[in-house]
């Protein structure tokens, strides 16, 4: 379990990163916290020719409070965000979900943006981004663009990011006066979710976002539903997510959790 050979570039500026990506394209990988990438390299699941280490770039280590949003840079580690004093007030859903990401020892290095770039369908941060309707800020040597959460995740570990793009950061809306709930079921504490659900009150009713079931985290909005109407809506949603069996859970179990936890969380945020 030793990684394949690659060049290593410690970027000293964002343009170093963009240049490296432009030159090497799909054969380059951004190295952020390394908590996913390094494991894959050790297993030789990936064979990049170049790793671009972005973690010494101070300009990417910023958590910026804007008027209606919080912008989180690519260098912000999960632990940094958890320790951010404004977190619970500005991003209550993130405050609920982030402690479920791995363990203290992986959050201390892993980044928020790395988790989004990795796009594991069971990961909590992609789910949160989709639930909140945030945006991903992409930048290449040629251009900058913002991609809405729902368009960013394209499939299992696939995103709208092109090979030459750096995720510079993300922008998460500050949703005042809303209510949030989050719950996750995993085999063990700190494991990737079998099912993770986030619910929030929205002006038109309620939103439920589910991770771990479909290839991408998926959100659904409903008007205020109750009783069997809610049950039916959740049941239809559960089936539409296309759950599959694996060693840890069955498709049916996943649908059960979507139905049951979904109902509980919706109850909590609407009460």
């Amino acid at each position: 379990m030793k990684p394949p050979a690659f060049d290593y570039l410690r970027a000293e500026s964002v343009s170093d990163v963009l240049e490296g990506l432009a030159q090497q394209g799909g054969d380059a990988r951004v190295l952020a916290g390394g908590q996913s990438l390094m494991a894959m390299l050790n297993m030789r699941l990936a064979k990049p020719k170049l790793l671009i280490d972005i973690m010494r770039l101070k300009e990417l280590r910023k958590i910026e409070r804007q008027k209606d949003a919080v912008v989180i840079g690519a260098g912000v580690r999960q632990a940094d965000l958890l320790a951010w004093p404004d977190l619970a007030e500005a991003l209550p859903l993130v405050a609920l979900a982030l402690p479920w990401v791995g363990h203290v020892q992986t959050r201390s290095r892993g980044t928020i943006c790395g988790s989004l770039a990795h796009a594991d369908p069971s990961a909590e941060m992609p789910l949160t981004l989709v639930a909140l309707g945030g945006e991903v800020l992409l930048r290449s040597a040629k251009r900058r663009r913002r991609v809405a959460a729902k368009d960013f995740f394209a499939g299992m570990m696939l995103t709208a990011r092109s090979d030459d793009e750096l995720i510079e950061g993300i922008s998460l809306p500050v949703t005042r006066g809303s209510r949030f709930a989050f719950r996750e079921v995993a085999r063990r504490h700190g494991d990737f979710a079998i099912v993770a659900c986030a619910a929030m009150k929205i002006p038109t009713g309620v939103r439920l976002a589910v991770g771990g079931v479909a290839d991408v985290p998926t959100a659904r909005d409903w008007p205020r539903l109750e009783g069997t109407a809610l049950d039916d809506a959740l049941n239809a949603f559960a089936y539409e997510l296309g759950a599959r069996d694996d060693v840890h859970a069955t498709a049916r179990y996943r649908r059960d959790l979507v139905r049951m936890i979904g109902r509980d969380l919706i109850g909590e945020v609407l009460q």
Binding site: M1, F6, N42, V104, Q105
Partner: protein, 172 residues
């Protein structure tokens, strides 16, 4: 910006437990291997090389770090702390280490270095942890021998002892 070539060894320098160290590594060399096989600091163990078991956990620039998920090249210029740096002197154990010994919190001792590093790091910032907090912290480690309870107990005991000695010094 310097691009380190895959097939060459490059100098890596950092501070290990307060002392400057230096060695050479190809870009792909893992920090765990560098510590163990280049520097001879074999107290940090390797149990999985995919970030799950926690045996290789050390502290880099104040951050708990899986050394198996870190490249030696990444820590150039950083400050590292490993299990070798825990004891106040070669023939004495620190408070946490003593608590481990008293409570039989280790058997084979293979997982122990990583667990000590997590606890050392955590207790420095949290003087009165609850059992639940310690369990949450240590969920990032696997021990196959002890069934964990003695480890939790040692951690709580050490925390209490550290807190009271801190109190004494501040009282004085």
């Amino acid at each position: 910006m310097s691009r380190l070539k895959a097939d060459q060894r490059h100098a890596v320098r950092f501070s290990l437990n307060g002392k400057p160290v230096e060695g050479e590594a190809e870009p792909r060399m893992l920090l765990s291997d560098f510590l163990r096989h280049q520097l001879g600091a074999t107290g940090t163990h390797v149990g999985c090389e995919h970030g799950v078991c926690g045996a290789c956990t050390i502290v880099v620039d104040g951050m708990l770090t899986r050394s198996c998920l870190t490249l030696a090249a990444q820590v150039d210029g950083c400050e590292l702390k490993t299990v070798e740096g825990l004891a106040p002197s070669a023939d004495r154990l620190g408070v946490l280490q003593q608590a481990f010994r008293r409570n039989h919190a280790l058997q084979c001792g293979f997982c122990t270095a990583g667990i000590l590093m997590s606890l050392d790091h955590y207790l420095a910032k949290n003087s009165a942890p609850t059992e639940a907090e310690i369990r949450d912290l240590l969920s990032g480690h696997i021990c196959r021998c002890t069934g964990y309870t003695p480890i939790i107990q040692a951690a709580l005991e050490a925390a209490a002892q550290l807190a009271s000695s801190k109190k004494e010094t501040s009282d004085a």
